[in-house]
Amino acid sequence: MPVDQPRPAHNPLEESHIDEVALSTVLRTVPLGAAVLAGSAVALVVLGYLAIYLFVFLPRGIVG
């Protein structure tokens, strides 16, 4: 067992109130939901970007 570092001084504004077992259980699924949500959001933004580029910007004419 490696020697642990001295326990950090206690900041009452950072206490943990969460059951570590519950946390471990939940971490078996997380971050699936976040990945789907964030992935969908990024996909929508990219699609919106391409749509505006192809259907609004390019038809307005070439400039250089």
């Binding site: 900041n11 950072e14 971490l27 699924t29 789907v36 990024v42 933004v45 609004v56």
Partner: protein
């Protein structure tokens, strides 16, 4: 906490007082621009109002809020008193004097140059000196943030700096770097011209120096919202921060990627060529990285909270979150606005598409949505969260707080979404009154009125916000003693020096600024542009 309570509250009240005044002006401006108020007010009135609105929202609300929040974080995250409180108060007083000088100059009609104050248009020197005082005050704040963190690190060798303070110091460092540009423009070019010491100005140089500040300043405004996302939101939702490391990387990426890309604000300018512009667009793509990390890490943190509360399935955790808590509600609304505002920003920074939107209402709509919406709604949330700890009193009800946040969100979407569309139609910026007899302009009228309605909702929300804080000062509920800052899933015991300080990143910033701005500025020193005559507006 006692000593710094008054210091924080002073900064925050000044910020929000400026905010409400500016909100009133904003609605008047939208009225005058619309068909409903088409023959009201003179251009003189309008440009005075726009200058005051821009200065108040972009320089006073932001800077003083960030300073007040920073002092709060330095004391509560580091659990130690603020060093140099005398300096902090002196800086506040200097800042107040500066704000008064600037606003009086504007009110007297001697500074209708807008908050971007592009020379050769030149205002009374008192306007610029006022702004310089505000910036100087903020530089004192920066130094106090560095001193705070350094003192804590000496007392806590080998331990990771609490994330909220790490983010605050990253922000302070970025602010020092970015204000160098506008400070150089003001001190070297604009103030001498305003005082009559020089009769001409090199406009290519002034545009370039100002652009140095233009991009990172918006991240200066944004980072406090991200500090709330990473260090307050997971706690408020009842979960844990998914990754402390990603938080640190986010703040570091903002520091190094947002500074060198200011030249993308000059994509339509004739004083720089293709090569510079193309490189700037490529570099700008990197500044999307911290946001991309955040839109995964923060939902993951919320997902922990939602699943702990019983949420099931791919999306069930979302409904399970405690949306009745203002910090959680504001963050959700902020992320929705970030989606739209982010898309708009990606279009602004595009090598080709910038030409479609530059100086149209699209730009105005974009920054109202991304700053006024995504960022300022988090300023409200932070205020609601820390005010109880500053005053010792708790909100008697969260319901008016939620109403205020929803009103802000709906108002911002109603005001800005049609405004983006009008920009694509060619509606241009900074117009005191539109000639609705022209058929092209007349076709815009209905959407301008819709935007105005959004603006009215925003004013209602702004007034309700102040009401909620005033009421809190008289509340009889005692302040919460519950923890404020979030714990990470894996609370760090030790982080590498690169993630605990800024020595390495400072060197990188210096190198990247030299690379990005070295020649673009040097070219004007070697061969100044043909100069333009100073045009006084007083």
């Amino acid at each position: 906490m006692r000593g710094v309570d008054r210091l924080c509250l002073a900064h925050l009240w000044l910020a929000f007082a400026a905010f409400v005044g500016a909100a009133v002006l904003g609605v008047w401006q939208m009225w005058v621009r619309s068909p409903l108020g088409a023959h009201t007010g003179t251009p003189g009135d309008y440009y005075m109002s726009v200058t005051a609105h821009g200065v108040a929202m972009a320089y006073v609300l932001s800077t003083f809020f960030i300073m007040g929040f920073g002092y709060f974080v330095a004391v509560t995250a580091l659990q130690r008193p603020l060093p140099g409180q005398g300096w902090a108060w002196a800086a506040f007083v200097a800042g107040v004097i500066g704000v008064v000088m600037a606003l009086v100059s504007i009110a007297l009609g001697k500074a209708s140059v807008l908050f971007t104050f592009y020379p050769p248009l030149t205002a009374t020197p008192w306007f610029y000196i006022g702004l310089i005082l505000v910036v100087a005050a903020s530089w004192v704040w920066c130094v106090l943030m560095f001193v705070s963190m350094a003192a804590w690190k000496r007392k806590n060798p080998g331990r990771p700096v609490p994330l909220a303070m790490f983010g605050t110091v990253a922000n302070a460092l970025m602010w020092l770097w970015t204000t160098a540009g506008v400070a150089a423009e003001l001190l070297y070019q604009v103030v001498p011209a305003a005082m009559g010491f020089v009769q001409t100005v090199d406009v290519g140089l002034s545009r370039t120096l100002f652009s140095w500040t233009l991009h990172a300043i918006v991240y200066f405004w944004l980072i406090p919202a991200y500090i709330a996302f990473y260090t307050m939101l997971p706690r408020a939702a009842g979960g844990r921060l998914y990754s402390d490391t990603m938080g640190r990387l986010t703040f570091i990426f903002f520091l190094i990627y947002s500074l060198p890309v200011g030249l993308h604000h000059l994509l339509m300018d004739p004083e720089h060529g293709n090569g510079t512009k193309f490189i700037q667009v490529l570099l700008t793509a990197f500044v999307a990285a911290p946001t991309v990390l955040t839109i995964f890490t923060i939902p993951a943190s919320l997902e922990i909270a939602g699943r702990l509360r019983g949420g099931r399935g791919v999306f069930g955790w979302i409904a399970a979150l405690p949306w009745d808590r203002p910090m959680v509600l504001a963050s959700g609304l902020s992320f929705v606005m970030l989606g739209f505002g982010g898309l708009g920003g990606l279009i602004n920074m595009a090598y080709g598409m910038n030409a479609m939107v530059h100086n149209t209402s699209w730009v105005t709509a974009h920054f109202h949505l991304i700053y006024g919406g995504t960022v300022v709604i988090m300023y409200f949330a932070i205020a609601y969260e820390i005010w109880p700890r500053l005053t010792g009193r708790q909100h008697e009800s969260f319901s008016p707080l939620r109403w205020q946040l929803w009103l802000w969100f709906v108002g911002m979407m109603v005001m800005t979404l049609p405004w983006h569309w009008l920009g694509l139609q060619g509606q241009w910026r900074r117009v005191a009154n539109f000639n609705y007899d022209n058929p092209i302009i007349a076709s815009w009228g209905p959407l301008v009125i819709v935007s105005l309605a959004g603006g009215v909702l925003l004013l209602a929300s702004a007034l309700l916000f102040v009401r909620n804080l005033v009421v809190l000062h008289r509340s009889v509920q005692p302040a919460p003693t519950s923890p404020l800052y979030a714990l990470a899933v894996v609370p760090p015991r030790h982080v590498p020096a690169a993630l605990n300080g800024f020595g390495l990143w400072n060197v990188l910033v210096l190198a990247s600024m030299l690379m990005a701005y070295g020649y673009p500025i040097a070219q004007f020193v070697i061969a100044p542009s043909p100069s333009a005559i100073v045009h006084r507006t007083e």
